[in-house]
């Protein structure tokens, strides 16, 4: 926002809205595998309690950036939008699994759903897929229809919403700032929220201009507490033998494969460009 204001520009660098909703559908169909794997990623992240909503978009973006050849993410590459939106839309489905099966809500929405189930006299657990299966199926189908209705609403409203990006920053940002401050305060209703809001904003602004990737900071900020908690539980319960657990080894291999593929793709892209300059954008996230 500071850059928009100081540059006296609007969110969109062009002054007209091009393309059509049909173009968006075509782009999604053309990138069907990206939609598929981002949706799988979103479902898996949604499955992990307390993780989904905050980081799924950044993780999907980082994963896509590290695995797509010749991308220009952050500079108008539609594949960045497709990856993030696929993951975001699929995470709700994933978060239903721990909510309905174990009574552990994956996020704010599913916590409300769990409250609703309790009010109806239903208890989350294995019964949700045996005796209460019709209720589970109705929840699943409600989610499906909600997504379809949401997609139709977005198609109808997209052009109007996109016009917001043409409003000059000095007319948009003052109003936006008020909403952001109110939103930031509601998380724990403490003054510290507002100080962190501005403090992290300043740090992120410097990081942006010094070419430091901001996504890892955000993901680390959100994940630090659950990672520390589960690491503490693992070590106190299993000491170091948890490292030999097949699940841990598989996750480790997947992480190394993603990092290695990112480095490999970046090197290949550099070689294709004939670019031997060491300077450039950070390759991770």
């Amino acid at each position: 926002m500071i850059d928009l204001l100081s540059g006296k520009q609007s969110i969109s660098s062009t002054q007209s809205i091009a393309g059509s909703w049909l173009q968006g559908v075509r782009d999604s169909l053309r990138n069907k595998w990206l939609v598929f794997r981002s949706s799988v990623l979103g479902t898996v992240i949604g499955f992990i309690p307390g993780l989904g909503g905050s980081v799924v978009d950044w993780m999907a973006w980082g994963f896509a950036k590290n695995t797509i050849k010749d991308n220009y993410f952050g500079k108008g590459d539609i594949r960045g939008v497709i990856a993030v939106e696929s993951a975001t839309n699929s995470k709700e489905g994933g978060s239903l699994i721990p909510t309905l099966m174990f009574g552990i809500p994956g996020g704010g929405t599913t916590a409300i759903l769990l409250g609703g189930l309790t009010l109806m006299g239903l208890q989350a657990g294995p019964r949700m897929v045996t005796t209460d299966l019709p209720v589970t199926m109705s929840i699943v189908w409600t989610l499906v229809f909600a997504n379809v209705i949401g997609a139709v609403a977005c198609i109808v409203l997209a052009k109007h919403v996109a016009r917001l990006t043409l409003i000059p920053a000095n007319k948009l940002v003052p109003f936006l700032m008020i909403l952001l401050v109110i939103g930031a305060y509601q998380s724990t209703r403490h003054w510290g929220d507002l100080i962190v809001f501005v403090g992290l904003g300043v740090v992120a602004w410097f990081m942006k201009h010094l070419d430091w990737p901001r996504a890892p900071l955000l993901i680390g900020f959100v994940l630090a507490v659950p990672v520390e908690r589960y690491l503490w539980i693992s070590i106190s319960r299993y000491e170091y033998t948890w490292l030999t657990n097949p699940g841990v080894i598989i996750i480790g291999i997947i992480i190394i494969a993603i990092l290695a593929s990112g480095i490999w793709i970046e090197r290949k892209n550099k070689a294709n460009r004939g670019d031997d300059d060491e300077e450039g954008e950070p390759m991770y996230l």
């Binding site: 926002m1 500071i2 850059d3 204001l5 100081s6 540059g7 000095n170 007319k171 003052p174 109003f175 700032m177 008020i178 401050v181 109110i182 305060y185 509601q186 209703r189 003054w191 507002l194 100080i195 501005v198 904003g201 300043v202 602004w205 410097f206 990081m207 201009h209 010094l210 070419d211 430091w212 990672v227 520390e228 690491l231 503490w232 070590i235 106190s236 060491e278 300077e279």
Partner: protein, 146 residues
């Protein structure tokens, strides 16, 4: 100051933060120490590697150094406005603070006319009050207790 120099200073600061975190974590109990200590050590090593790469790149590079921002005074001015908005909320509360901030911004910065600025402020304050009432929102406490 150039972007390259600031980047090195920023890296040194991050390295110092990781270093201090590692030192602080040594005072924790064994299990509580594990995560912050090792993460801080790993972070410090990565930042140190980045710092070395930056210094090497800087010594080799013959390109002229870039500025951090094309319009740094303007960027700092807007940053101060945001901080000023929080100070206003701290002193006068969300409603009066928002009204003062929004009116000043629209009138002096956006160059809205007086009537247009007042109407905009009235609509926004009305919206916040309604929104807060419907959504049962909480507002930050302020110095004057308003």
């Amino acid at each position: 100051m150039s972007k390259e120099k600031l980047s090195i200073i920023f890296s040194i600061l991050v390295f110092a933060i990781f270093g201090l975190a590692a030192l602080e974590a040594q005072n924790f109990r064994e299990l509580a120490r594990f995560f912050p200590f090792y993460i801080a050590i790993m972070g410090a090593i990565v930042v140190l590697a980045d710092l070395i790469v930056q210094l090497r790149r800087r010594s080799k590079s013959k390109k002229p150094e870039k500025a951090l921002h094309e319009n740094l005074p303007a960027a700092l001015k807007y940053l101060l406005i945001i901080i000023g908005y929080l100070v206003l909320i701290y002193i006068f509360g969300i409603f009066i603070g928002t009204a003062i901030y929004l009116f000043c911004f629209l009138y002096f910065e956006t160059k809205f006319g007086l009537i247009k600025s007042i109407i905009s402020v009235a609509i926004v304050i009305g919206f916040i009050m309604l929104f807060g009432d419907v959504m049962n929102l909480y507002w930050p406490k302020n110095l004057l207790g308003l």
